[in-house]
């Protein structure tokens, strides 16, 4: 039972964005995917979620080979994601946004609404249910993305830089949410740039560099890894 990427490769007209990268995410695990810009992190999300087809390798979800499946089917099978640049359904209300997600598993409108309200409770947006999505602040939009993804009742959640642009206090709130989700059994992959968050939140860290897996291990191991330091962390000691 895991979300598995087996030697996945992806090419964008000549540029090898992902070079035979493998990854395994069991339920309840928080995995951080880090690396310099252009390392292939977002590409990995695209391939895992099905937005882009892998050029090589397989994606296996809880034993089912989903490599050829389109994004909506993978969503139904249990993978949800947020986007690096938030994509709210702007002209719809917060509640309606989340209902779209809820409709994946609940075809009845009132059931979907109940599930949607629950998801909004979890992220703390319940009192903004009838607000239009386009009127939300950045933090609220990120919360909305998470709520929407949660409403699809996934087993694995891909969070793409969901802490970016948030103040430290806001980040703490989000970190608590991520922790809670993992405790509930959700497998999470975080693409992150903030070492503060990675060190505190992640149980496992994978470092990508130029599309290849550079290192994998616990946060402490990664922080001490000389290759990682050279490529990404720089000379400063960031284990805090």
């Amino acid at each position: 039972m895991a979300l598995v990427a087996e030697k996945v490769s992806k090419r964008y007209s000549g540029l090898l964005a992902l070079d035979s990268v493998s990854l395994e995410l069991p339920p309840g695990r928080i995995l951080a995917l880090i690396g310099p810009n252009g390392a292939g992190k977002s590409t990995m999300f695209e391939v895992l979620s099905g937005m882009r087809k892998a050029d090589g390798g397989k994606v296996v979800l809880d034993g089912t080979d989903v490599t050829e499946l389109p994004p909506w089917q993978r969503c139904r099978l249990g993978i949800a994601r947020t986007f690096q640049v938030v994509r709210p359904l702007a002209a719809m209300t917060v509640l309606d946004n989340v209902k779209v997600g809820a409709f994946v598993r609940h075809h009845d409108a009132s059931e979907a609404e109940a599930v949607a309200r629950e998801a909004l409770e979890q992220v703390g947006l319940a009192d903004r249910a009838s607000q239009l999505a386009r009127s939300l602040t950045l933090l609220q939009r990120k919360q909305l993305e998470v709520a929407r993804a949660l409403a699809t009742q996934p087993r694995y959640l891909l969070l793409d830089e969901c802490f970016a642009g948030l103040r430290a206090a806001e980040q703490d709130v989000s970190m608590q949410l991520v922790r809670r989700l993992a405790d509930q059994g959700l497998g999470l992959i975080l693409v992150e740039h903030s070492m503060r968050i990675v060190m505190r939140l992640a149980e496992e860290v994978m470092v990508l560099h130029h599309g290849k897996k550079l290192a994998q291990g616990t946060p402490a191991q990664i922080a001490k890894n000389p290759d990682v330091r050279a490529a990404y962390l720089g000379a400063r000691d960031v284990v805090g």
Binding site: S49, P71, A91, D96, A109
Partner: protein
């Protein structure tokens, strides 16, 4: 936002229908033609609104779907004696096939809004050309239905009866709109309109949903053609397949309110009145192009100055599909 008695909403189209019937009792018969046109405009535009307003796709083919429905059912009736309503079902099936082919090209690949519009335009012209070639091949100047009171074939001596049938169709279309916009399908369409990529990640089978919408609205639109055939009694390619109908649908829906439930109804009322004014102009001014200019200008004004339409001014964000 969830009503505690959702079925009350379905009363609205019924009330509208009753009011329309009552109003028709006191309207002078010289306006009967305008009333029938009103129902045609409103009904076709509601069907188009699912694609244009809910899904956010600019389809320019629905005018041709209407015309094809009129033409096929008329030909089957006049040449083969097929009852008009049966012919209408056959026509709807033919239209559905074309719509399905169009959808297969449009939605299976990512072609972008501009090329989608052009694809639908191309289909509209292909259909027009097919009907024209049919007329040339059989040396026809249109198909003509006999003027005898024939209710089962939607031919009425009293024009108001066509109006009543038309209003029933409008009421049904509105009821379908209510249902769709409150249930899963409507949410999926709105999600596609707002952000197709996000919709995919949220479990929406985008190509499938759009295809179903396109085919269903195409078939529904073709039924308006059946009513038109029984009413106009003279069905020619250059009239029913003209792009003018599409121009009218755009004017009606944009002026009334794109994506709004009553947008097409309000817009149709407005456009019908304008149409009557244009038709009553002295011939010297009302040369062939005037109506095109007027409707085109209304589309332009609505698109640039009043994107949310008349309904948009009146209401504030109460509906699912807000601009």
């Amino acid at each position: 936002m969830l009503d505690h008695q959702p079925w009350l909403r379905y009363l609205q189209p019924v009330v509208l229908l009753i009011v329309a019937i009552l109003v028709a009792q006191v309207v002078p018969s010289r306006y009967a033609n305008a009333l029938v046109l009103f129902t045609l405009y409103a009904y076709i535009s509601i069907c188009w609104n699912f694609v244009g307003g809910l899904a956010g796709k600019l389809s320019l083919a629905h005018g041709a779907f209407f015309g094809l429905g009129a033409y096929i059912s008329a030909v089957l009736f006049v040449d083969l004696g097929v009852p008009l309503l049966v012919g209408g079902v056959i026509a709807a099936a033919v239209v559905a096939i074309f719509a399905w082919i169009m959808s297969a090209i449009a939605f299976r690949r990512r072609i972008g809004a501009l090329y989608f519009a052009l694809l639908t335009l191309a289909f509209a012209y292909v259909l027009l050309e097919l009907v024209r070639q049919y007329e040339i091949a059989y040396k026809l100047l249109g198909v003509h239905l006999p003027l005898v009171d024939d209710p089962l074939n939607l031919i009425f001596l009293n024009k108001f009866n066509s109006f009543y049938i038309g209003m029933v169709m409008v009421a049904i279309a509105l009821a379908v709109w209510i249902w769709v916009s409150r249930h899963r399908f409507g949410y999926m369409l709105a999600a596609i309109r707002e952000d197709e990529e996000a919709a995919k990640a949220l479990g929406v089978n985008v190509p499938s949903v759009l295809t179903v919408t396109m085919v269903a609205t195409a078939a529904a639109t073709s039924f308006a053609g059946v009513l038109a055939a029984g009413y106009l009694l003279s069905v020619e390619a250059n009239f029913v397949m003209s792009f003018e109908w599409m121009n009218i649908v755009l004017a009606v829906t944009l002026v009334g309110g794109l994506g709004r439930m009553y947008g097409p109804v309000v817009g149709a009322a407005f456009i019908t009145i304008i149409g009557e004014i244009v038709r009553s102009l002295p011939q010297s001014i009302a040369a062939g192009g005037i109506s095109t200019i007027v409707y085109g200008a209304l589309v332009l004004l609505a698109a640039t100055l009043l994107p949310s339409g008349i309904v948009g001014i009146a209401r504030r964000d109460r509906e699912l599909v807000v601009r």
